[in-house]
Symmetry: C2
Subunit: 310 residues, 2 copies
């Protein structure tokens, strides 16, 4: 009943002044903001890999997260979210409540972030749920944050505490879009990335792209209460800091900034943000931490690496 589902969905998609032609035609037409670049990103989530509906999350949470991870990518570019399109493949045996839940999660977050839902594609098959969201944002020309601009001497700032997101925060992601736009307006940022796969892994990606390295001050890494809770669990065997460095799905931002800008950001952050300076960019490659004797020790980047057997 793709047709039935689309018939059900279309009147529920909120109209948006940004839509010259709304969902329901062969394509949607967007009034792009003048004098800005278009920023585009896509993320696909699959049942059994990224989530299991029912046992560890609700359809609504899947819809929320599928859009949220894309908005976090826009935040990592300092882009203002504009619109999104959604493609889903529903299990043929699924109830209508699955589709309704997905839509509710998507539409509620879209409303909160002023994102125009510009349509999508609904399919059915005998496999598990697949959802792919493409998000469009905008940024002034030449102003998008990149991950390859970190320079020796920059400070590394993280926008909030990390670790233990699997306790539930990974499903309630509220991406740092508004905060990113404000930071871009007020401060110089040389490079940025969002923490999806793990603080140390995403930091190492920024450093590799920037052909630089980083000396981390581990005592300054802000640790989320969830990381403490997880480390106390029977058999966990990891410290709260381990969790903060490797868990991922924090969806905070890592920023490489000139020292003065980093200090000013920490002293006067956007509302609701608790950023911290956690390291310094160095000329050579690799991640390092200072040990108790004051000596540099290599730090292996850890986090979630997608596995492909091929």
């Amino acid at each position: 009943m793709e047709t039935d589902f689309v018939d059900w969905l279309l009147p529920r998609l909120p109209s948006h002044p940004r839509l010259e032609v709304p969902a329901g035609d062969d394509a949607a037409v967007l009034r792009s903001p003048a004098m800005r670049r278009t920023v585009v990103t896509v993320d696909m989530l699959t049942e059994g890999v990224d989530f299991i509906v029912g046992s560890d999350c609700t359809p609504r949470e899947v819809g929320h997260k599928a859009l949220a991870v894309n908005l976090s990518d826009l935040a990592a570019m300092a882009a203002r979210p504009e619109a999104a399109v959604v493609a889903v493949c529903l299990p043929r045996t699924a109830s209508v409540s699955l589709a309704e839940g997905l839509h509710e999660g998507l539409a509620t977050l879209a409303l909160e972030y002023d994102v125009a839902l510009a349509g999508g594609d609904t399919n059915a098959w005998d496999g598990p749920l697949v959802i792919s969201v493409t998000a469009l944002g905008s940024v002034p020309p030449g102003q998008a944050w990149r991950r390859d601009g970190a320079r020796a001497g920059d400070r590394i700032v993280v926008t909030g505490p990390c670790g233990g997101s699997l306790l539930g925060r990974h499903l309630r992601v509220m991406p740092r879009c508004r905060e990113a736009v404000e930071i871009a307006e007020r401060f110089a940022v040389h490079a940025a990335i969002d923490i999806s796969d793990g603080l140390s892994l995403d930091l190492s990606r920024m450093m590799t792209a920037s052909k630089a390295g980083c000396l981390l001050d581990l005592a300054e890494v802000p640790i989320h209460d969830d990381a403490v809770t997880m480390s106390r669990r029977q058999g966990d065997g990891r410290t709260p800091l381990d969790h903060a460095l490797a868990d991922g799905e924090d969806f905070e931002l890592l920023l490489a900034m000139p020292p003065d800008d980093a200090q000013r950001l920490v002293a006067d952050p956007p509302a609701g943000l608790a950023p911290a300076v956690i390291g310094e960019v160095i000329g050579g490659p690799g991640l390092f931490a200072v040990d108790a004797k004051g000596e540099w020790q290599p730090l292996a980047p850890r986090g979630f690496i997608h596995d492909f057997g091929g």
Copy 2:
């Protein structure tokens, strides 16, 4: 090896002057053309529903088709293609040649249509291949073709012969993008849709959206040689016209045009196009055909309807 695959893929993505920030960052940044609207569409193809790699198509053909069906949606809006992003979920057991083939099909078509491949998302799982393409195009403000603008008295034009696409044309789709832009520049078009699910079904969708109906002149429907071939097959039991009306995946365009414009288009079409006037829009709902006695007979829209059990 998502990371490995991305490492393999990134240097192979051709650079494009439209990309201010290319694939490989958190998102891509596009130089959107000034004074034009952004047109966006998404289509997801799944193995076992839309194709079976190996037995009925190659990875390269899947990559080609996944982009082509989206470009056809842009053509149905009279939009010029600009960029595309791709999300794939690869079977964990797949060989690297699957990914290479997909990329080759995508990249070759993108080059031919001057589409900037702006990045994507690669996942792996234990399920079959899923590929979702989002295409971005552009069109002058207020100039996008819609499907809801057909008016009584308009002529219905189809841009080429239909039927029998399953013999192989459905894999070699060359969407009518260039032709659509030229038609939009030279003629008045009140409504448009591309033929993906079946001429009669897609025509009925245009009529429903336009709150109108259509009287078809079945003798004028251009029939593809493939439709003739299929109807001759043992046990087929359908006429070539049946195939032309119902098979779908022709990816020709249906246009509702003022009579004068329709005649001028047929008399002097864009290069390589053989359009035909096949009917007239009427005030009331429904599709009709004139029988041998000159009387109107209702025509049931037929074609491919996606099934969802819920």
